[in-house]
């Protein structure tokens, strides 16, 4: 079909038996805004990486501007005008705005010497194209996230981008900044650029998209004209009818307060947080990135000292200055980033599970009880359905979902009173997700108090019996179990997270969509 800037045919990519992409085909027209939506791990990011030439697919063909590639490399991809702006933007923090915009072009042109006048000229031209001005000599680490995003766009434009991929560009932006960015994206479209826009925020998707492609479980569910879809049908296609997360019901009868946070503050991170939890409570904490939720979790775990307030476990005020203190006090944290904060990739599953429980598997003589360590690991592998030939396998050979279960096993083994899970299902396939939810609920049923930090609304609605919302370092809302069961719960959470009063009013709630 003429007018297609990109055609992908039957793209497949497998990682260790898991289909990251399963026979996906897609066309992107010149001058359209094409949104990719899907849950974490549904294959959107893999698709983008294939199109940029960063990963070679196992099967399939890519046609760019009429040239067909069996295996696309990054140089070809750039030459065909494909530019990707990843979530981290990949800017050089200590270099100036002008250098960041122009450097890639200078390199692409094979310039041997840096001509600062030319660098500035290129930067000015590109900024003019998006109708913005900026201090060209300011280092990147001194400008706002929104402006960094614009620098990344200008850099892409300087390389004659015809097709621009933007991966979650609005995550770290305020509402006003988001509007400004979306306006620029629409203007770029008017000038003939194709934009592939990936976002979790469905209201943004509806605002800009011409076409929406939905991914689920590595497969493409379908391409839709954005006018054909409603919020309801979009969510339905994203999650699929066969995935139904069981809703948690607290059964514990002991209503004494076991864990309490009283007026906990750290200015600039979180302010005046108050929480009361009983046995078997699952408290959700949600909010955008930077709202203070991670900072609060780290603080409870002894890594980000609070300035005032108290943490009380079983009636005793505890003072936690390190993760060691936290674990001893009965509080464990599953950190947000599995790769950098949790995994020991070349070590065995068994050693990964035991790492937070070394004192408890040490005998009186001061020796490690390797047999006990192994037995614990075998029990946990069975309990959490970790798929592995044995517990000696090094954890780097497992899929993301099984790695995550291994890390969860580590924290469950510490037998905490309060378990904080920060993003327990990020980058995890749907099947593992269901397993993980089941386990979270069963641990809570056995009496653990769980704090679940997440920005996935279905996850919160399925597992929590109360949800606290944070925005701009403050607690802005609290939904009780009864409120969570009402049909408007998802909308309320969404609007509290993003600042309330949004014009976006979806009509059909998430829970019904799943049923």
């Amino acid at each position: 079909m003429p007018g297609n800037i990109l055609e992908a045919n039957n793209i497949s990519k497998t990682y260790g038996g898991v289909h990251a992409l399963d026979n996906v085909s897609m066309c992107i027209k010149a001058g359209e805004i094409h949104c990719l939506v899907g849950e974490n791990g549904s294959g959107k990011s893999t698709f983008v990486k294939v199109m940029s030439g960063a990963i070679t697919p196992d099967n399939g063909e890519i046609t760019l501007n009429g040239h067909t590639y069996r295996s696309l490399n990054p140089i070809d991809s750039i030459r065909e005008g494909v530019q990707v702006i990843y979530q981290d933007l990949s800017l050089f923090p200590h270099m100036t705005v002008a250098e960041n915009i122009s450097m890639n072009k200078m390199v692409a042109l094979g310039k041997k010497l840096v001509n600062m006048a030319e660098v500035r000229k290129t930067a000015e031209e590109q900024l003019a194209r998006i109708g913005e001005t900026m201090d060209l000599d300011c280092p990147i680490d001194e400008i706002s996230m929104a402006n960094r995003q614009l620098v990344a766009i200008c850099r892409a434009l300087s390389l004659d981008a015809k097709l621009l991929f933007m991966d979650e560009p609005t995550t770290a932006l305020t509402n006003i900044e988001v509007d400004r960015l979306l306006k620029i994206v629409l203007e770029l479209k008017e000038k003939g650029l194709s934009v592939v826009f990936i976002s979790h925020k469905l209201n943004e998707v509806f605002e800009v998209a011409d076409t929406i492609t939905i991914f689920r479980d590595g497969r493409k569910v379908g391409d839709f004209n954005s006018k054909e879809l409603s919020y309801h049908s979009l969510i339905y296609h994203m999650t699929g009818r066969n995935v139904e997360y069981p809703r948690y019901v607290r059964k514990a009868t002991d209503d004494n307060i076991r864990f309490e946070i009283r007026g906990l503050s750290r200015p600039g991170h979180f302010e005046d947080v108050n929480v009361k939890m009983r046995r078997g409570d699952i408290l959700g904490i949600t909010g955008l990135k930077g709202s203070g939720r991670e900072e609060l979790a780290l603080s409870l775990f002894g890594l980000n000292p609070s300035k005032s307030g108290q943490v009380i476990i079983n009636g005793k005020t505890v003072s936690i200055h390190s993760p060691t203190d936290a674990i001893v006090s009965g509080l464990s944290l599953l950190p947000e980033d599995r790769y950098t904060q949790a995994l020991f990739p070349t070590h065995s599953i068994s050693e990964n599970i035991s790492s937070a429980s070394l004192p408890s598997i040490t005998t009186k003589a001061g020796l490690l009880d390797r047999k006990g360590e192994r037995q614990n690991a075998i029990n946990m592998v069975a309990k959490l359905h970790i798929r592995t030939p044995n517990v000696e396998t090094s954890v780097q050979n497992l899929s993301g979902g099984n790695q995550q279960k291994t890390v969860i096993a580590r924290w469950v083994l510490t037998d905490p009173e309060v378990l904080i899970l920060d993003g327990p299902t990020v980058g995890v396939d749907i099947a593992s997700k269901v397993d993980i939810y089941e386990q979270i609920q069963s641990f809570a049923s056995q009496g653990m108090s769980i704090i679940l930090i997440s920005d996935e609304l279905p996850e919160l609605l399925a597992n929590c019996n109360s949800v606290m919302v944070m925005r701009a370092n403050k607690v802005v809302g609290f939904l009780s179990n009864e409120e969570l069961e009402k049909p408007d719960a998802a909308d309320r959470l969404q609007s509290m997270m993003s600042g309330g009063g949004d014009d976006f009013q979806p009509s059909i709630p998430v829970l019904e969509a799943q049923a």
Partner: protein, 346 residues
Amino acid sequence: MITQMKKFIRQDTTLTVLLGLLIFLILLFGSILQDKFFSFDNIQSMGYQIPEFAFLALAMSIAMITGGIDLSVVANANMAGIMAGYVLTGAVFGLNSGMSDLTLVIIAILVALIVATLGGVFNGILIAKFSVPAILATLGTMTFYNGISTAITEGKGVVGFPDNYLSIGTSAPLGIPLVFYIFFIAFAVVAFVMVRTPFGQSIYLYGENRIASLFSGIKNEKMIIKTYALAGFLSGIAAIIMTSRVNSAKYNYGDSYLLQAILVAVLGGINPNGGRGKVTNVIIGILILQILQSAFTLFAFSPYAKRMIFGFMLLLIMVINFIIDKWGARSKSIAKDSEVVPQEAK
């Protein structure tokens, strides 16, 4: 049988390669040098020489397992040796203090061990508390300790130790040098500590991912200080062995041992990025290096050629390790697919 061997090779590629290399070298030099190589004298002299740098190599290995390095091992050993030397020559307690030689020897040994351990603790504090990268911290203390030794001795050797101190380095019960027994016991203890104690396990976990070990509630700072203190302690033993063998202590003794210690650790499969490597494999690395040393001596190579060869070897081993790693990763990922896929299909 063949499948068992394959399994063994895949399980510990480093050990297989090392054993292969060791046997190859023994056969090679044995066939060229024949009786000279297999003579009692040659083997016994290896038994004397091995422990000298083996302790430094062991200290280097545990520092490298944390992902760090200890460049100060030799300088620390020399400083400790000089302090002990002052005790032994009577410079500390006076020549006519009336203390028996044995008392002096015991005090000297304690001084060497304490000074070297404190040297290690200082390294550990710089690295753990002040976040100085290990390579810079220990480069600094290397120069610093060396400077202390040079300054207090004014570059001269401390000489003339009592006989019962010298017997540490020269006696050989049952024909095996005493220092070799010490080497053997110390290695067994350290290997055991690394594998069977929470301290050893923490060293490996920290070396692999220090943020994850922090999140696991491991006391990173304390553990690092303890590790470098242990490296210092082992340097202290090296100091005792060196000084008792040559009957003197000097600021620049054993300069070439620093490169050899790193060489042996890397040869023994200690990953310079941390988290991986076995102390037991380092022993084979030490044997290989010693066999090369002895052969070079028998061939009458100049010490300058030796340096060049060792430097080249270190580089070569790192390149070979890289290639083995790549090959290993590929064969593992193939193995993984064939193991995991049927499970997924269930």
